[in-house]
Amino acid sequence: MLEVAKQESRAERIQSRGGGDLKDALGQLKVLEFGGYAAGPCISKYLANFGASVVHVESNQRPDGFRLQYPPYKDGIVGPNRSGCFAFFNDSKKGVTLNLKQRQGLELAYRLVDWADIVIENMRPGAITRLGLGYERLGLRKPELIMLSTSNMGQTGPHASHPGFGSQLSSLSGFTNLIGEPDGPPYFLYGPYIDFVAVAYGGIAVLAALDYRLRTGKGVHIDLSQYEAGLQFLSSALLDYSANGSVARRDGNRDPQVSPHGCYPCRDGQWCVISCWDEPEWERLCRAADKSQWLSDARFLTGSLRKTHERELNETIGEWTRDQDARRLMGRLQRHGVHAAQVNTMRDLFSDPQIAFRDVWQKQSHPELGDHNYRMVSYDLSKTPGRVRGAAPCLGADNEEVFIEWLGLARSEYEELRAKGAFS
């Protein structure tokens, strides 16, 4: 089928499929997700932002781990619908509860599978199969299904079933080893860094599979190891070891070639990064700083001299930046054509003019969290812009809508199933 598609001309190919109408890029897409935390749910959040209908399945016994295990909670009070952490990765979705260990609950899960184009799961390998929802079974039931299984280490191999969180996997995969000073400890980059790398690759994988299915009618099962996805981001360092045996190490904020390339203290605990990539840019920095003495300083005359005297250079620049406002310093240096940026804190991200310009923060009202912000992704589509379409669901909030309105259960049937504990 692929070969046939290849022989058509481009225009024919596009025209033959054209003519449909859509308001949203993913307006026809239906996504079902089992699992929790970040690695699965964040993928479908991105799809939901572009119009996909997404159903997030939990149960009252086992709500998504982000609901009860991680702050922030509204007013510091722990509760399943009070977690800002859960909300952050689950906007624009429907939330249902199903007891998958019970026959009726499992039956409803199969009906959701029949409804869905894509199933995303991030349980420990083997767990979804034990529930009766593994690809071996769902793929037979629905050959055109796209199913993504994303896990720490992948579905096969000696460590496949090892439980793990991205916060630690970010170390096994080498990232934390590359943050910090050479003679100091490795640092953490706040959370499960690698989970979000795998989120991007997971989104890419299901969208590529979707296009393949639209053209061929064939389903795809995807085994995504978060470990392997993460290593893509370190490819050059891994090749350097393969080629030269050199082991990449953390090196503060230094660049292997140029100097200055660092982070400098400013007023009130703020910081500003500055880098100069050639001689003219270094000269522009000196002029912007009004420091002609830097230009004539024998230690800083050439790029390689500045690299040799990097510590003194950084101290010299730091002395100058210390009493300045980081944001104003960034503006001044940028006006002079010098690479510079303030180090935004989380608070600053909510007042950064470029982030505001791109409408990254989008407000929604939530029954327990009140008005609060969700993050939009980095890609703007000119004809089908994405947006945050609704607050994250409370636990089981959309059971009626999803099972009665979307799947067509009769009210009486729904009530009967509820009495039997299918939605517990």
Binding site: P158, Y190, A208, L224, N244
Partner: protein
């Protein structure tokens, strides 16, 4: 599995964007890397492969340009632009990372290229996006990492904010650009319409912040770097250790509470007891009710002291083996050397040997990012030499004669 085999991608990016084209190539699309006649600037970025012929090759370039063919074209010249316009008519995707305004100046912006090719999906990758107050700011990895907020979360409390020493901003924006492009493809496949996708690296890196921004938004706490500790797990503000010194390096381990930590905590106490390193109170802990959501700093410190002593007696490899055997959460802080010998990656045949054509050296590349229907994505061709596929592409795809191609070469257009 070549999921995207019907599609042609023109990749005009420099190092800020070349991961996006690589992802398309990995997924089976036909990707043509278009470089200026002197080669892409990222060919001069370290680290280098010493290939013995005096012109070391950038491993950075080799890593992210596999599965692409390579042609040269001088877009600063009108003839070059005319040729690019023709090539653009044959493309499904154009991916570029020029400074905002550059393509408009050359008459090659989305509106121009799509006039006779309405299905075209044009992806622009820039530090901050094509519009807005930072549009023209100069930014390398360091500046993007700073403005994304990521640096503020790494490093010592009150000390210098840190970036990752291997540049990451280009990775984030390249991957998200591919996701944006494929989102646009889903729309095109139904409607026939292409569009422009404007991607911001600053916003792409914000994905790495996890839920940190939610603290400021919801509770007006401003999460900051905390050295080798993590904050934000307890409502009482206790910080918990993440990095533990061991015999030959570091271990990443966090004491989790609730269902997430129960098994690990039980196993750790047992492991320590086997080595006579568990104090009696630790053995008596009831891990089934243990939680960290409201733990105090005093409680954390008491708990962590004997664990630190125990970890200091282990090597990274011993910890990893123990964690695997006991199914505990936690991993050592691995170097690229440790990763290269990891048995899980070997069992899954992750590494793919690829022979570099110029040096004849075979390098172990990180393999495809996922397995589709049991098949790992493959590297089907190594990164191209400068202009390697000029004749192939210009003759076969644009129907140029040998003479025309030679003339363009002589004129320095290709």
């Amino acid at each position: 599995m070549n999921l995207l085999s019907p599609y042609r991608v023109l990749d005009l990016t420099d190092d800020l964007g070349f991961l996006a084209g690589k992802i398309f190539g990995d997924l089976g699309a036909e990707v043509i890397k278009v470089e200026p006649p002197q080669g892409d600037s990222s060919r001069r970025r370290p680290p280098f492969l010493k290939n013995g012929n005096g012109s070391p090759q950038s491993l950075y370039w080799l890593a992210f340009n596999t599965n692409k063919r390579g042609i040269t074209l001088d877009l600063r010249r009108q003839e070059g632009r005319d040729i690019f316009y023709r090539l653009g008519q044959t493309a499904d995707f154009v991916i570029e990372s020029f400074k905002p305004g550059t393509l408009e100046e050359w008459g090659l912006q989305y509106e121009a290229l799509s006039r006779e090719n309405p299905g075209l999906i044009h992806i622009s990758i820039t530090p901050f996006g094509h519009e807005g107050p930072y549009r023209d700011f100069a930014a390398s990895d360091l500046e993007i990492m700073a403005l994304s907020g990521a640096m503020s979360l790494a490093g010592e409390k009150d000390g210098e904010p840190m970036r990752v020493s291997v540049p990451q901003a280009a990775m984030w924006v390249g991957a998200e650009a591919a996701m944006g492009a494929l989102t646009a493809l889903a729309y095109r496949t139904v409607t026939g319409k292409g569009q422009h996708v404007d991607v911001s690296a600053q916003v792409a890196v914000m994905a790495a912040l996890a839920h940190a921004p939610a603290f400021w938004d919801l509770t007006r706490e401003n999460p900051e770097r905390a050295g080798i500790f993590v904050t934000g797990r307890s409502v009482k503000g206790a910080k918990m250790r993440v990095m533990w010194s061991c015999k030959d390096g570091w271990i990443n381990f966090i004491v989790y509470g609730g269902a997430a930590g129960r098994h690990t905590n039980q196993q750790l106490a047992r492991w320590m007891d086997e080595k006579d390193m568990a104090p009696p109170w630790l053995k008596d802990m009831d891990w089934s009710t243990f939680a960290v959501t409201s733990i105090t700093q005093e409680e954390v410190d008491r708990l962590e002291a004997p664990i630190a002593t125990f970890f200091s007696t282990l090597t990274k490899q011993e910890f990893l083996a123990g964690a695997m055997e006991r199914q505990m959460l936690g991993y050592p802080v691995a170097s690229v050397q440790d990763i290269t010998s990891d048995e899980q990656l070997q069992a899954r045949q992750f590494w793919q040997p690829v022979k570099d054509q110029q040096s004849d050296i075979t390098l172990a590349h990180p393999g495809g990012f996922a397995i589709f229907n049991g098949e790992r994505l493959q590297i089907r061709r190594p990164a191209p030499a400068i202009g390697e596929h000029n004749s192939e592409v210009y003759a076969n795809d644009l129907g140029m004669s040998r003479g025309e191609i030679d003339q363009l070469k002589a004129d320095g257009v290709i």
